[in-house]
């Protein structure tokens, strides 16, 4: 789903994935369902990361994610969407945990081998993600989920920023200046980038400042879109930052 190219994101479409809309919409209204589908589409990767961390198998995780989202969108899972439960992140994590537990139960039945996992014949071959699993193993599945969530938030904000620059006819801006979104210093050679963009150094600094501020707004808007009515954007950003540090 996420591997297909995203439609061009304008600021307007960017703000439409709002968790509050899902919560506020009538349980099985078309609007609520579509809003949930939008959100699920946007936050597909954290689910894959979680399932991969639990089942230690990238392909199975991807397949199960398909199954999970299909069940969630077709089935009545939206009925349990409740503003009281707060953030979409918690909601989705709860739902996928539940899903994984049911799946494990089904797997451990005698019929499916009594809990003994079938060994893949491809293990340790070039294609298997053995390295990734080893790296992720240091984190709990929940931490992996949160970390991937934070990365997804940043990616979506970055896409929105790209789209905005594109719409303004300056796609090269963000490509050249992207490193400085992280901080004003540390990446040296600003004058070379200024020359490449044929801007004076002060002018480029101003552009960077504007770009950073815009990026900040976009991250905040993206985070806000996943919160319930009373959620604090700052709190959620702190949690995401902590997840990245973990």
């Amino acid at each position: 789903m996420t591997s297909t190219p995203q439609p061009k994101l304008h600021a307007a479409s960017f703000h439409t994935t709002r968790w509050t809309r899902v919560c506020l919409a009538k349980a099985d209204s078309e609007d609520g369902r579509r809003a949930l589908a939008d959100l699920c589409d946007a936050y597909y990767e954290p689910v894959v990361a979680y399932l991969r961390s639990v089942f230690r198998d990238a392909d199975a995780a991807r397949e199960m994610s398909h199954a999970f989202f299909a069940e969630m969108l077709v089935g009545g899972t939206i009925h349990t969407a409740d503003p009281e439960r707060g953030r979409f992140r918690f909601y989705l994590l709860g739902a996928v945990k539940h899903f994984a537990a049911r799946h494990r139960e089904a797997e451990s039945r005698q019929k499916r081998g009594g809990g003994i996992a079938p060994l893949s014949l491809d293990a340790n071959s070039e294609l298997s993600p053995a390295l990734l699993v080893a790296e992720d193993a240091r984190l709990s599945p929940e931490a992996v989920f949160d970390r991937q969530w934070a990365v997804t938030v940043l990616e979506r904000a970055m896409q929105a920023l790209d789209a905005e620059c594109q719409a303004q006819g300056k796609p090269e801006l963000v490509n050249h200046l992207r490193p400085w979104l992280m901080g004003e210093s540390g990446y040296g050679d600003q004058s070379a980038a200024a020359a490449a963009l044929s801007l004076s150094l002060p002018a480029m600094k101003a552009v960077i400042h504007r770009l950073r501020s815009r990026f900040r707004q976009m991250v905040k808007a993206e985070v806000a879109g996943t919160l319930g009515q009373d959620g604090s954007v700052e709190d959620e950003m702190r949690s995401l930052f902590a997840a990245l540090a973990g």
Binding site: L154, P179, S213
Partner: protein, 592 residues
């Protein structure tokens, strides 16, 4: 070229190897850290690390420092417990990088003294201040709640809620202004709302303390750009800058956006009472002298409106039917009491604005001020005891065909020596016939002034244009030699009732020799001469050369006030003409 970041390199900022899931080659951790910085205009967070409560504790033995509440451009705030009194307090550390600056120290001392003297229920109180561990600190009342910015982020306020916040802020501002303290940085972040819904202004005077030293003892510095009044840029601002900022806050509360250059009035953006526009536009005037003169003035305007809105809301809300019934019975009792009082002759005298020229028509004859200036026929005006508050009014000859101009000839006015001229006149709505207008109020260049399109003398003013059964306000101006007049019609259309009294008011403000700013309104009057709600509006608008011929009036040293009433247009009976000439302000109201 930009530095290229490959997947196996380290992040040059935090030194951690870049993870495989780096966002477009950027370290996600540093990206998120960048995104977490405050998003505010200016965005110049001081380059000091935020100290943890533990690091701070040794410097403040009298306090138990609990948590960092946040940081803004002005410093860092912590929640703490004052051990001696066992109460929560807010500890604010100011500009640590300026600790060695003696000028800053002097200003801090002076302002902090003034702040500590401010004692008001809507101002965050200052308990103590001083210097400790290299920090200038203020110990303040802890407000358990949210700031207005946080509130606005979680919900959209109703107009009623928004209007409920403004009077409290005005109250506090007035108190501070009376003490010669200007806030300079009124914005939603500085308006705290506690759990009981009480609004408290935080950071009073902090802008002046932290403002860059410039040799003028901390003159006013621009606050947060979107909220700062235009005059704050060149440092000549006074208390009216706070009124402007509050106007921005009000606009934002109502519409969700801050007013930009050439902004649209709130009622055009969201469904609010059109009268709110008048308040917002007046607070947001670019010239300080056109704004509310004091915060108290603004408060009165808002409160008058809020009461009215509340009454209307009570009347329509069906779930409050029982409450309404109770109110109704109370109202009936009250009405009875009023009727009894009125019957026994307790009548209020007519209200006269201090300093105003006033014609009540109560003498029973046309005074000298008018006598010789009756146009169209020998006596189109007759006096009948039918005016407001059972006094004489003046009626246009008792028939439906007369129209007439009266020029107030006792006094002429010189616009070059005036800030503004306010003219108002009451009229009783009579049947609308074939007349094009009900009443016009304006200024003319000569005593034989003709307030119409006939060549003779220049004039400008507002007229109540008849549109079907309702009325609209229209600006007109004309040169002496040429006609017909140029006009501009307001889109606000309103209905009036036959037999009821109304008052038309017009405010002329001279901006320069070629530009006049006009605003006006029509309000209901009860029969005792008390003003009721406003029903018609002419929002402030500039008219100038070369489109509107106004130079002749503006440069003339003798301008006369005139009115023109049309029986067939629905204004056969007049009363209470008032003219108030306001001199230009002599000096800025506050000294530093």
């Amino acid at each position: 070229m930009a530095p290229t970041l490959s997947a196996d390199s380290k992040c040059p900022l935090c030194g951690v190897p870049l993870p495989v899931d780096a966002v477009n080659g950027c370290c996600p951790r540093c990206l998120m850290a960048g995104a977490m910085q405050p998003t505010q205009a200016g965005e110049t967070a001081p380059p000091i690390p935020t100290l943890t409560p533990e690091e701070l504790a040794p410097h403040f033995p009298q306090l138990e420092i609990l948590e960092c509440l946040g940081r803004g451009g002005m410093g860092v705030v912590y929640r703490a417990r004052q051990k001696s009194l066992n109460r929560f307090v807010a500890l604010k550390l100011l500009a640590p990088e300026r600790a060695d600056d003696p000028q800053f120290a002097a200003r801090f001392e002076k302002e902090a003294h003034a702040l500590a003297a401010l004692n008001h229920s809507h101002i965050v109180g200052v308990y103590d201040f001083g210097q400790a561990g290299g920090f200038y600190f203020l110990l303040m009342e802890f407000v358990d709640g949210v700031n207005l910015r946080q509130l606005l982020q979680t919900k959209r306020l109703t107009p009623k809620e928004a209007l409920g916040i403004v009077p409290q802020v005005c109250d506090a501002l007035q108190c501070a202004h009376d003490n010669n303290i200007v806030h300079c940085d009124i914005k939603p972040e500085n308006l705290l709302i506690d759990k009981a819904g009480t609004v408290k202004i935080a950071d009073f005077g902090i802008a002046r303390i932290v403002g860059e030293p410039d040799g003028t003892d901390g003159a006013m510095k621009p606050g947060t750009p979107d909220y700062a009044a235009p005059e704050q840029v060149n440092g000549t601002a006074d208390h009216r800058a706070d009124i402007y900022s509050l106007g921005v806050v009000l606009y934002e509360m109502l519409t969700g956006e801050r007013p930009k250059e050439n902004f649209t009035p709130p009622s055009k953006r969201v469904q609010v009472d059109i009268r709110i526009d008048e308040i917002v536009l007046r607070a947001l005037e670019k010239m300080p002298e056109l704004r509310f003169a004091t915060a108290a003035d603004m408060r009165h305007s808002v409160e008058a409106l809020a009461t009215d809105v509340a009454v209307k809301a009570t009347g329509t809300a069906s779930r409050r039917r029982r409450q309404t019934a109770l109110l109704l019975s109370l109202a009936v009792l009250l009405a009875l009491a009023v009727a009894i009082l009125a019957h026994f002759g307790l009548r209020k005298p007519k209200r006269i604005t201090p300093g105003a020229e006033w014609v009540s028509f109560d003498l029973g004859h046309l005074s000298d001020a008018f006598k010789e200036n009756i146009q169209f026929g020998r006596s189109p005006y007759g006096l009948t005891p039918l005016g407001l508050a059972d006094t004489h009014g003046v009626v246009t000859a008792g028939n439906m065909t007369s129209e007439a101009t009266l020029v107030y000839r006792r006094k002429s006015f010189d616009f070059s020596k005036l800030a503004s001229l306010e003219v108002s006149c009451c009229f009783q709505r009579s049947e609308i016939g074939a007349g094009p207008q009900a009443l016009a109020l304006g200024l003319t260049g000569s005593l034989d002034g003709v307030l119409s399109g006939v060549p003779g003398s220049p004039f400008m003013g507002l007229r109540l244009k008849v549109v079907g059964d309702s009325l609209r306000l229209e600006f007109q101006s004309k040169q002496a030699s040429l006609g017909p007049p140029r006009s501009w019609e307001s889109s606000n259309q309103f209905t009036t009732e036959e037999g009821k009294w109304y008052r038309l008011s017009v405010i002329f403000t001279r901006l320069d020799e070629q530009t006049i700013r006009l605003s006006g309104n029509v309000c209901e009057m009860d029969r005792h001469g008390n003003a009721g709600p406003k029903i018609g509006f002419f929002l402030p608008r500039n008219f100038g050369e070369p489109i509107f011929p106004v130079r002749e009036i503006l440069s003339d040293h003798d301008v006369w006030v005139a009115l023109r009433a049309h029986g067939p247009g629905g204004a056969a009976l007049l009363d209470d003409l008032q003219i108030l000439a306001r001199p230009p302000p002599s000096a800025p109201a506050l000294k530093n």
